[in-house]
Amino acid sequence: MTQTKVSIKNLYKIFGNNPKKVLPDVKAGMTKPELLDKHNHVLGIHDVSLDIPEKQIQVVMGLSGSGKSTLIRHINRLIEPTDGEILIDGENVLAMNDTQLREMRRKKMAMVFQKFGLLPHRRIAENVAYGLEIQGVPEAEAQKRAQHWIDRVGLTGYEEHYPGQLSGGMQQRVGLARALANDADILLMDEAFSALDPLIRFDMQSILLELQKELHKTIIFITHDLDEALRLGDNIAILRDGAMIQQGDAQEIVLKPADDYIADFTKDINRAKVIRLTGLKSPVSGYNGPTLPGSTVLEEALSPLAQAPDQTIGVTDKTGAVTGTVNLTQAIEALHG
């Protein structure tokens, strides 16, 4: 098991005039509509606990109003929680004073925003160097590091442009480069690709996955798009009305939805492209026949399955050892849900 990088414990956020006063009611089980009715307070986050492992992509998914953007803003304390705990590398974020908090925001994490949040009066190179400038990195060094990331996200030649001169997709590349230039362990991405059209979004996801292969950052990625969540997330957490209703990897979310709400979500996705053999395997011993890696998606596994003897195939783990078998009937059933 990997180490926990960010740990959120029993987090509550209530918006209103006197959140502390109504907190006991919420803890006693008052629901969101009741709270709004009786006390005119809005329940933003309802008892969320989440351990985010390091060097992986943690997706937080939910529809609008589910509290996902509120949740991510608690991690760097752009929003103050009403109750609960947030630990980063074991350090309590909520106990930090202004100076410590600024230091943490400068060095430990960087954020990418849905609406980009670029500085319109600065050129692209200056935007990418912004975080470094805030940290007090000397200008020449900052420019050099900024240039490296401008090249990495494919914006070479646009250094002297202003953000207003670039398309949305290119602006978000600037946002990504600015965050990466900070060289922080944690990357917070708040619906980072949601404002982009589907093709550009797919491109950006590919860029992110490719960079992650070598950077191994702890990425916390907020999205309302299930396809995006399944494509990017090593782990996925689903929020509704501020509460956590399921966490797990893509296989678990699709194969074992916690309730009808999630089942509804997963209904329209292309299951053949999401479900992997490892999610279906039944244990076996002494299997001796054709095998496929566990990470194979069903789409690619179907025809080998059909051709295999007994229409059964062995599933191997990363080391190549057989961990179980899958047969064609199982695969077809999984496709129908």
């Binding site: 925001r105 400068r106 500085l119």
Partner: protein, 294 residues
């Protein structure tokens, strides 16, 4: 019936004693503090006199070159530059050079004072709603109260001369720059500010690196308005001893000299148009990055 048709006022004697009491209080205040206030404004007076002398002592061709240069730097437009120089040439030919220099001096110093006081005030206002709710009504009063009314206490305190004139101009001209600085900073995109916060910007880094630069076009519109309002106070300021284009206008009004009034009035208009066009086109260039597309 009389009660209804005649408003029940305080009565002549009470009113008189109320007014006298206020006058007396203010008079003793000005006796007690008038001199120290004058001393306080002394550096300003010296600066104003020095600047006026500088303008008056400058050879006129050099002044024309400087004006042309400034107009070019501000507007980057040959039309505005040539028109500015020609306007000053016409003013000189028509014998208004010295008065115009005096007016230029007081307008420049008044604008400078307004910028130095007004921008920080606007920033303070943008930072807290409470400050805003205190300052806004004060600005409203400053802009709407008839100038003659606040000339009275100013003259009582500081007498007649350049400093009270400068103060009168500033009182009238400072509201737009305060208001527009406040507005400009409040209008800065919340998403951009949040990004600055997320990257750990300190309040100072946010103010100087994000808020002020993004508010600059609005601040500049404020400076433009301040200059225009300062120019419109030139005639009134001349009533309390400020030299410049206002003096002949005042003389023309009391003696029915149409041509004199018209010429000096038009000189003020010419100054206003030059200042306006140059500062406006500079303000537009400041936000060039906004309008550009691919």
């Amino acid at each position: 019936m009389e009660f209804l048709t005649e408003f029940p006022s305080m009565g002549r004697r009470d009113l008189t004693s109320l007014r006298q009491a206020i006058d007396e209080t203010f008079r003793s205040f000005s006796r007690a503090y008038g001199e120290s206030l004058e001393n306080f404004f002394d550096p300003l007076l010296h600066f104003l006199i020095w600047f006026e002398k500088l303008l008056l002592g400058m050879p006129w061709p050099l002044f024309l070159i400087i004006i042309g240069g400034l107009a070019w730097l501000g507007s980057r437009s040959w039309k505005i530059t040539v028109a500015s120089v020609l306007a000053f040439v016409a003013i000189g030919v028509l014998g208004m050079w010295e008065d115009t220099m005096a007016t230029m001096a007081i307008i420049s110093v008044a604008t400078l004072v307004c910028i130095v006081v007004g921008i920080p005030l606007g920033i303070l206002m943008a930072r807290s709603d409470r400050t805003q709710s205190v300052i806004t009504p004060v600005l409203d009063v400053m802009q709407t109260i008839p100038s003659f009314v606040y000339l009275i206490p100013v003259v009582m305190l500081l007498g007649i001369g350049k400093v009270p004139g400068l103060l009168a101009v500033c009182i009238y001209a400072i509201p737009p720059i305060v208001r527009l600085t406040n507005l400009g900073i409040r209008l800065v995109d919340k998403d951009v500010l949040e990004a600055a916060d997320a990257f750990g910007a300190s309040p100072k880094q946010k103010l100087l690196g994000v808020q002020v630069p993004l508010a600059l076009p609005n601040i500049f519109a404020g400076i433009n308005q301040t200059i225009m309002m300062a120019l419109s106070m030139v005639v009134i300021a001349s009533m309390i001893g400020v030299k410049g284009l206002g003096v002949p206008v005042l003389r023309a009004v009391s003696n029915q000299y149409l041509a004199l009034g018209l010429m000096n009035g038009l000189a003020i208009v010419a100054l206003a148009i030059i200042f306006d066009r140059v500062t406006q086109s500079y303000g537009k260039r400041l936000q060039a990055y906004r309008g550009q597309s691919k």
